[in-house]
Amino acid sequence: MKNFSSAIQVIPLEHYIILCTTLFCIGLVGVLYRRNTIIILMCIELMFNSVNLLLTAFSAYHSDPAGQVFVFFIMIVAAAEVAVGLSILVMMKRNVDSVDINLLNRLKW
């Protein structure tokens, strides 16, 4: 464990932060620009994972396991969420026969 942490610490923390922020932003931009629900879901997953990575990196740098524990929680919750999300998606496909996010817009104003 010790070695693993020090291996991570070889790369400066800034690089992790920049990488994760970039990943996060890619996910964000994906959410903004794509209209296919599945892709958006994947982008959100990407954002989750960037957070996971960031937490791990911080955890290693702080030599504090709490961050990594959090990562596990995130992964579990994300999985649960995706499960629910996909079933909602199925329901949507059944109702409108499409996965375009903007198709569902009857509720407005």
Binding site: I40, M47, F70, F73, A80, G85, M91, N95, N105, L107
Partner: protein, 457 residues
């Protein structure tokens, strides 16, 4: 803690009861279980017990909020007896999911660690995504659940990113430690910490529908089954604000100036958007959604006017707001049924002529929502204003007062419909339970206005 565990078990029991195919026993069991939960919560009062390495602290604050939420849930379940009778689908899941959401809410009121907050939010949210889509073949319900889910998980990522940044800066998830960390900087926080905290706040603000992160709430409230809407606008909102307050109180006070200003901006926006958008609504559920946003604004006002009574005021506000909201939804359902599913404001026409007593109680409830004495809604708003004015936030208080006027306008707009006669009348059926519920809530709303309490939490 025992209450938390018992509630989870209760949820599972209810799930299994679904196999029995007897809808009639579900609500009684759920209500009885919640009564026990209530009892267990009362037992913990004053103990301040801590669990899981202090990640959960069941102090008086959390117990008070939990009790308030359980009471409201019980009310909603009573409401559900009549509501689900008319529906064909799997009712057990609904009860169970609401109970699960309630456990999430418990966590949100009692965390002292960001992990627990995250878990609480998610445990609360995921059942709600499902519940919002509860009417499987309803297009609107589907849309509501879809929007809620997409925006909700997006907000979660924001929240998590914020948590990560805060963790990176402060190396801890514990709120008290974060507080100590912040206090080292004398108000000049490193940008990473600042942004991280902002993201966390935005994540929570999303849950309580604070502008500009409120977009989901009108659509979801409108599309979701009415019972779920009632649940969301009461219990979920209470939980969200409890979490919000706890976050600020335990971790962030005194608030760093930029964040405080950002929150003031959000408060102002919430007050403005919530009230203004409600003005011209013709769909009643949507109107209540906007009004709920507006109420968020008032609660934010109380929260930001940091004072040692703020917690009590928020508790009082959310509780009396919920107490009025639930029976309003019940009456709405009754009218909607009578009007063949329409949700327009005009369905209330002729209510006074047909059921004068229901009309009177609806009036009292709406008056409470609008903040007119002697109802508790007035007392709640009064306390909020006392807080904000005595803390010297005069400008925003004036804005809030003007917005309260607008609020009165749209509530009284509804009330006017109630007292307007209708050309062709239709039968309005009120079951005994519902009638009793309406009366109890109506009386309670007035009584709470007369006997105002201030809990030392």
């Amino acid at each position: 803690m025992s209450a938390l565990i018992f509630t989870i078990v209760l949820g599972i029991i209810l799930l299994y009861l679904g196999f029995v195919k007897n809808k009639a026993i579900l609500a009684p069991v759920a209500i009885a279980g919640l009564m026990i939960t209530l009892f267990l919560l009362f037992k913990d009062w004053g103990l301040g017990s801590k669990y899981f390495h202090d990640m959960i602290v069941f102090d008086n604050f959390s117990i008070a909020f939990n009790i308030s939420m359980v009471i409201i849930t019980i009310l909603i379940f009573f409401f559900g007896i009549d509501y689900y009778e008319a529906l064909e689908f799997h009712v057990a899941e609904h009860y169970a999911l609401m109970i699960f959401a309630l456990t999430g809410a418990f966590l949100m009121t009692s965390f002292s660690n960001l992990i627990m907050l995250f878990l609480g939010i998610e445990i609360l949210s995921i059942p709600l995504y499902v519940l919002a889509g509860g009417k499987k073949y309803s297009y609107r319900s589907n849309e509501a659940s879809f929007k809620y889910f997409m925006l909700g998980s997006f907000a979660t990522t924001i929240f998590l990113f914020g948590v990560a940044l805060v963790y990176g800066a402060s190396a801890t998830f514990y709120l008290p430690e974060i507080k100590i960390f912040i206090s080292q900087f004398n108000g000049h926080l490193p940008p990473m910490m600042l942004v991280g905290l902002l993201f966390i706040l935005i994540g929570v603000a999303f849950k309580v529908a604070v502008a500009p992160f409120h977009f989901w709430s009108p659509d979801v409230y409108e599309g979701a089954p009415t019972l779920v809407t009632a649940f969301m606008s009461t219990v979920v909102k209470t939980a969200g604000f409890a979490a919000f307050f706890r976050l600020l109180n335990m971790g962030l006070l005194p608030l760093p100036v930029p964040l405080e200003k950002a929150l003031w901006v959000m408060t102002g926006l919430t007050l403005l958007i919530g009230n203004l958008a409600a003005l011209k609504q013709t769909n009643f559920k949507r109107l209540l959604a906007y009004s709920s946003i507006a109420h968020s604004g008032f609660i934010m006002l109380a929260m930001l006017s940091q004072h040692n009574t703020s917690a009590s005021v928020i508790l009082y506000y959310t509780f009396v707001y919920s107490l009025a909201t639930v029976p309003i939804f019940i009456i709405f359902i009754l009218m909607k049924r009578a009007a063949d599913g329409s949700e327009e404001l005009s369905i209330f026409r002729g209510l006074y002529k047909q059921k004068p007593w229901i009309a009177v109680f609806l009036t009292i409830l709406l008056m409470s929502m609008a903040g007119i004495p002697p109802t508790s809604g007035f007392m709640a708003k009064y306390q909020v204003f006392v807080l904000s004015i005595s803390q010297g936030y005069l400008g925003i208080s004036i804005v809030a007062i003007l917005m309260a006027v607008i609020g009165i306008y749209y509530y009284f707009f509804v009330m006017r419909e109630v007292f307007t006669e209708r050309e062709q009348s239709y039968p309005i059926q009120v079951s005994k339970i519902n009638a009793a519920l309406i009366v109890v809530c109506g009386v309670a709303v007035v009584m709470l206005g007369i006997f105002v309490w201030n809990l030392p939490i």
